[in-house]
Subunit: 207 residues, 2 copies
Amino acid sequence: MVYAQIPDIIVGRLPRYLQVLTWMLSDGIQTTSSQDLGERIGISAAQIRKDLSQFGEFGKQGTGYSIPFLVNQIQAILNVKQVWNIALIGAGDLGHAIARYQGFANRGFRIAMVFDIDQNKIGREIGEFIIQDIAAMVETIRSADIKIAMITVTAQSAQGVAEKLVEAGIKSILTYAPVPLKLPPGIFIQYIDPIIQLQHMTYYLGN
Amino acid sequence: MVYAQIPDIIVGRLPRYLQVLTWMLSDGIQTTSSQDLGERIGISAAQIRKDLSQFGEFGKQGTGYSIPFLVNQIQAILNVKQVWNIALIGAGDLGHAIARYQGFANRGFRIAMVFDIDQNKIGREIGEFIIQDIAAMVETIRSADIKIAMITVTAQSAQGVAEKLVEAGIKSILTYAPVPLKLPPGIFIQYIDPIIQLQHMTYYLGN
């Protein structure tokens, strides 16, 4: 299916829609309204309608949205009806937590390989993986044609690792290190940083 | 300072503005434009201007925005000129990673206490903290008047822990467990889920 180009700000909200819709499905809920969905997500009903209208007519006046249909459409738009392999760089506490994360199943991703620089970790198991030597990372990722990496190394190491990932053919990087990555155009970087969500919450806590 | 009520969707973008502006400051950059800031964040210049105009006139036509001034204003709006204490529940791999996270400094937060249910962990050190028994959590959090908690327990335990946190007077919960929390109105919940960012990126990777 071909969609017109969608503003990135809307694309960024679709995974959250998908998450909440999937939770509703697992609660046995089959239909929703823009009002209901908006309340669950914390977005106005008008914004929900506007966002979803980008992809054609999902809802019918009066009957609301079919959740299975909406889930299917959003999965197709986000290209997550397939399973993407991910290279995980950094086998510290956070790397271990991600390797064992219960949230990957049926959502379009699986960790495929794990690398670290620490000779004491290389060769050890992490979840179902053997930690591989970061020295072999570029060639291994390139051979496996992996396009997505997650970085859980220290702030000091993140830029160097990211540059090697670009060399390996990685196109999308999700980093947990609290530093900006400076990479060539065409590489899509996302940051996971709990402070972002904490600061959102303190707006409502007042002083 | 008193601001008019700001739509939540804009509030949610302000921490990302603050993060990028702080990075610019640490690179020695003192002024920016909506165009420049938009490119760094991945949002249109028009959206940046619209968002910032919610809080009054920050920028001057032709001279751009003063970054120190903008940082100061956004910190005030988000109530992060003070330091908020956080209770961390769950001393597993992820809890350890958070307790040692390098990204908290000077951003308005500090981990103040850590709890776990595992008798093998209670009493041990995690970073600079002693892991406390979750059985004492409600009273300890209430006595310390802590309003923010981070949950890194398993998916199965998250709802039960969250209910106890509400009992303890917690108003804002940031959870890493990939399950929806069902809590009374007035409790602000945020989810950290790497799949959300990964699915955003696969939109651009195509099939």
